[in-house]
Subunit: 206 residues, 2 copies
Amino acid sequence: MTATPDARPRGTRLPRLARRRQLLGAAQEVFVAQGYHAAAMDEIAERAGVSKPVLYQHFPGKLELYLALLDEHAEALVNTVRDALGSTTDNKLRVQASMQAFYDFVAGEGEAYRLVFESDLRNVAPVRARVERANTQCAEMIAQVIAEDTNAPADEAHLLGMGLVGMAEVSARYWLSQHRAIPKDTAEKIIARLAWRGISGFPRTG
Amino acid sequence: MTATPDARPRGTRLPRLARRRQLLGAAQEVFVAQGYHAAAMDEIAERAGVSKPVLYQHFPGKLELYLALLDEHAEALVNTVRDALGSTTDNKLRVQASMQAFYDFVAGEGEAYRLVFESDLRNVAPVRARVERANTQCAEMIAQVIAEDTNAPADEAHLLGMGLVGMAEVSARYWLSQHRAIPKDTAEKIIARLAWRGISGFPRTG
DNA sequence: CAGCGAGGTTACTGGCGCGTAGGATGATGG
DNA sequence: CCATCATCCTACGCGCCAGTAACCTCGCTG
């Protein structure tokens, strides 16, 4: 039971924008560690070495603070996947790069992936919308490639895309939960192979 | 906006066990619809046509009530997958049956799958343990088959198992979110084909 | 060096919701 | 017809926490 990684030196004054960034950082730590519900605004403020009203001078409420972080990381995921798909036109390499994108995202600093993949609060509409949108966008980008290179109808391509997204997401979270027992690039390759064998030359055969 | 499916006739007396079952039913409706946090014990009681203390005569607290439901459905999932894997020794059919197991689970009465796949409250240890255990057991049973029929090492087989679980789970949830735009058996076959092509004859080639 | 504004603080309120104390009421056996 | 027990009710206590009111202080500017 080591003492909590103590709050920053209380009493330093910061310009508005720097303070905002710092608050977002503190909020991320707390939201990731505790989830939305168990996270107290008091604790976020304390971790930033500041009192609660300061938080409310930067964000209208707890939900908006959370949404700011969620938006940030949901967008990061989508961008990573987009970049992966755009990095080559060789579909086999595309699959490899896409899987790596998910593993990179999950391995990212501060376990921020939890905000997107393990949010409590999906029952609240704006949160649900954002989480689903991130997933859908990823699946859709993949479906796009599938639809272009096979004769699969759009519905089917979407379903396949979502299947691949699920494979990547869940396996990556599992890999991390095992504290990287398998080297990252090995895990990526195993899953990429599973995905590529599954998807390649999809139109013909059964 | 139709009126809520109103509470049962207030005032009927029930023997202990019947009441317990009814309370579990009411609780499931509310937890599924609202999630753990937004669900109020008052509302669960009201939906059962009963007052709150009755709830506390059957369950020591809100968490235990929730866990009772979670256990029930987590076990149901694991059993469905186990049966699917045991239903044949033809691996291709096994994959087909396993995918169907997930789609069946998700399509089950009352959207109970949400308790397992979309629980808010994963930040609470006993809940997290149960959800992870269900996932792990499914993945492990699949990994077992993979390890037996290929030369893949255990680590790798587990990762592959979890990849397939993720594929099934996420694609099934997506399929349902589209309100069954694709016929169930069609979706199952598409995903089963993706899985089977991915996993079959895994040892050799890349 | 006065005064003003950005940045920060303490201390409170108001509501919500879990859990409980204490009492009523219907069935069942003597 | 009376006692007894299980079942169920009304009504409240109490802690927690998001959000707010009112006040402070540093440092810059004229």
